[in-house]
Symmetry: C2
Subunit: 489 residues, 2 copies
């Protein structure tokens, strides 16, 4: 069986056994079973626990996988580590193709754990008899249909309860269970419009690793963005080659947070996933050769993933040179933004004659527009209002002028969010203009916190990224340039 | 009159005239008058407008300041720029001590504005007859009592409506009106427990500048944190000297965002406040000699201000060496945090024998604690629960052990926020322990977005900083070390 086939079985099994399933609501085995059932997994589920009897969710407990009459694709383990070898032997005997071992207490705890790992190697005949995801992970997730839909569905094997999710074009590969647990919950409640297709918590990656999953996602046309957290590279050479392959694909972006960049981080990762992190220079080399986007932390990882997810969904053109225009209503914020823009290698160019003349028409004579692409829009709005014209038309005109300018590849627009100013802002008007052009427009939202949240979500639904920190906005535009350079190399 | 006296009159006037006050709700002059009246300004208010008659809020309109019989301390201008010279002459004649000119259209718009500035210089006899704040600003704010109190009060002269505010130990000096407007609204709705005392929008700072206000706040014992946005230094020498004075004061911290660090930013600031930004090297020199904390953007400015505000209010000791402990429930987040900690010059030290032995007692034998100060608390929690002990006591013990360790100067604690886990987290228990010790503890919150918001506010009320981005947490601890170095130099 080739690796893509086995990954396909792990992510799309027809039947699963939950070893360690439990009626006790405090146990992880209960939550795994609940996640599968309540999220309408479209395959068969067999709860396995020698100490349990009767049924849960109408499913009968089996004492052992060997008592299951039908075929089983995948076994999910949530039992104490010492029990694994014997149970895994039974899985081999049963002909189960793969095991997701969520239990911890292997290489990462030292000598005793290493003995267990050796036993697993022997039982599986170095993974020739059965393939392994984990151990020490939080399982795999596949999202088929959004949680707020009546026919919500997917394959959920984390031992953390999943209530909210949306299907989308992002896949996650992670050595931190958090990304198929607490942090995932954070991301989906923070960005309710952000959609995911797969989340793969690969833990100690004793067998399957980032390599097989990455390869699979490169071949999956549903996936545009692959977001990764790694503490070590299983096979740097293969990793680089897969990333290089992604560079030649116009609709794939890979973003990586690498843990263990410092000696302190390495000590941590050793006790976490037993990862022997590469030294910083090697990591730097792998990332450079891979031509992928590096994020510094989980926050950045998901903000970057959101940006690319939206960009692909809205079919915007990747900016190449970093020439953009700023439309700001605050000179102070505009100045800081102009500074940051330059610090990140972006540029607010001098406007062409035609564009400048068109802007001059909109502005009062005592407050002409700047000659470079920094538009303080208020004087133009005031002029319109004084002449009883609709300020929306000014916004529309300014956007048209800037986005028609060939040199300009995108816009940063500051929006003051206040219930009082809803009519003036007219977010729908903005969304309408932005959707007309293939150039990316990013919004910087200030004002009442709840109003910024609401507008951010309204924009999010329309795949327009918004930020509450200027520097985040600039960084997220900068990575587009970086990615377009990756793609053209 | 010395400068502190005139600043005192500007910030605490007994009577003000609002020149340009209006009954038209769309005009800034209406909003300035409303802000004063509705926020219970404790002085006299005189609306002035030659075209208005009758009363507003029971206050009778005057045609000119010369029609006011009583003494007037401060005139607030919100009229077209061309009208200012004549009206300012009347103020001088009336013996008004200071004018806050919010109108724009002076040096920042070029030649015509420069003529106006020259006229003002002449009329005021270079500010010897009357002192000026502005022009091109959003006024001054003094907060006496919180907006949610029945006796809410203060002195509010911005032309943007102020509904929410809290009195506190922060003063703002800003060349961006945003900080006495839209961004201030953002900050107070984002951090509802963050309190401010004064906000000074100084605009083009034709007369009074950061110098006079900074000097005043250094002498005001209510103020611990001075947050500034400057596009230029009015008098670098004086600025450095005042900052050096602050270094010798144990309860003052100055944080600065400097706009115009790049040529692009300089072009922006020129059209904003007519600021001729210093070149980058000079700015760098001023900041270095000043020994103040530099922030890169508004987001950082207020996050840093919040951290110091809380630190002073809770009387925590500034860490000196950057030795801290991490208490994390996620190995992945812990690894990234350990990396960032090291990248920012902080250290997770090896634990002393006593502390380590005490931790070992709490952990199961198959999962002993790390020898360095990175505690993955889950195995200890699980052990407690298995033995029917309260997991709160484990958290308390871990904190006690770490905070009693002489070398450790603070803690980073990750908290998974979920309605399900409220009992386990027991935030009140945490607050109680953290308040017992003088060492700062920062929390990293992940989980359900709304739950993180709520816990963040609960912590905020108790002056415990929390973050949703690891790197922000690390940066905010790093500036404490920086400030303690500033203070000891």
């Amino acid at each position: 069986m080739n690796d893509n086939n086995i990954v396909d079985i792990f992510l799309n099994p027809k039947s699963v056994a939950v070893i360690g399933a439990s009626k006790n609501m405090l146990k992880g085995g209960y939550r795994i079973l609940s996640n599968l059932v309540l999220n309408n997994f479209n395959g068969k589920i067999f709860p396995v626990n020698p100490n349990a009897t009767g049924k849960l969710y109408g499913l009968e407990f089996k004492k052992s996988v060997l008592d299951i009459e039908e075929e089983v694709d995948i076994a999910i383990f949530y039992v104490p580590n010492q029990l694994i070898p014997k149970l895994l032997e039974e899985c081999v005997k049963k002909g189960i193709k793969g095991a997701i071992i969520e239990t911890s207490g292997f290489e990462e705890v030292g000598e005793k754990g290493l003995e267990l790992s050796d036993q697993i190697l022997e039982i599986t005949d170095t993974f020739s008899k059965i393939r392994i995801v984990g151990p020490n992970c939080m399982g795999l997730t596949r999202i088929d249909s959004d949680s707020n839909k009546e026919n919500k569905s997917g394959f959920f094997t984390s031992f953390l309860v999943f209530n909210e999710y949306k299907r989308g074009n992002i896949a996650i590969i992670s050595q931190s269970g958090m990304l198929n647990g607490g942090y995932f919950t954070h991301v989906v409640t923070k960005y309710p419009n952000l959609g995911f297709r797969y989340i793969c918590s690969i833990g100690n990656k004793m067998d399957l690793s980032e390599i097989e999953f990455l390869d699979y996602f490169l071949n999956d046309t549903d996936i545009n963005v692959i977001a990764m957290y790694l503490e070590s590279f299983k096979d740097p050479r293969k990793f680089i080659n897969l990333c290089k392959k992604a560079k030649s694909m116009p609709d794939k972006t890979i973003i990586l947070v690498k843990g263990g960049l410092t000696s302190q981080g390495q000590s941590s990762s050793l006790s976490h996933t037993a990862a022997l992190s590469e030294n910083f220079k090697l990591t730097e080399g792998v990332i450079k050769q891979s031509g992928i986007i590096q994020a510094r932390n989980f926050f950045e990882l998901f903000e970057f993933a959101r940006t690319f997810s939206m960009l692909y969904k809205s079919k915007k053109i990747l900016p190449k040179r970093g020439y953009l225009a700023q439309v700001f209503g605050s000179g102070g914020a505009g100045t800081i933004s102009a500074d940051l823009t330059m610090q990140y290698g972006l540029k607010l160019p001098i406007l062409g004659e035609k564009a400048y003349s068109a802007l001059v028409e909109l502005f009062p004579p005592w407050m002409p527009p700047n000659k470079f692409a920094f538009v303080d829009i208020w004087p133009a709005m005031e002029k319109a209002m004084t002449n009883s014209k609709n300020p929306r038309d000014v916004i529309r005109s300014v956007y048209n002028i800037l986005l028609e300018e060939p040199e300009i590849e995108g816009i940063f627009n500051m929006l003051f969010c206040s219930k009082q100013f809803r009519a003036v802002n007219d977010v729908n008007n903005l969304i309408d203009i932005i959707s007309t052009y293939p150039k990316p427009v990013f919004l910087y939202l200030v004002g009442e916190f709840e109003e910024t949240r609401q507008i951010s979500q309204q924009l999010g639904k329309n795949n327009i990224p918004s930020f509450s920190n200027l520097e985040d906005m600039v960084k997220n535009f900068q990575i587009l340039i970086q990615e377009s350079k990756n793609k053209s190399n």
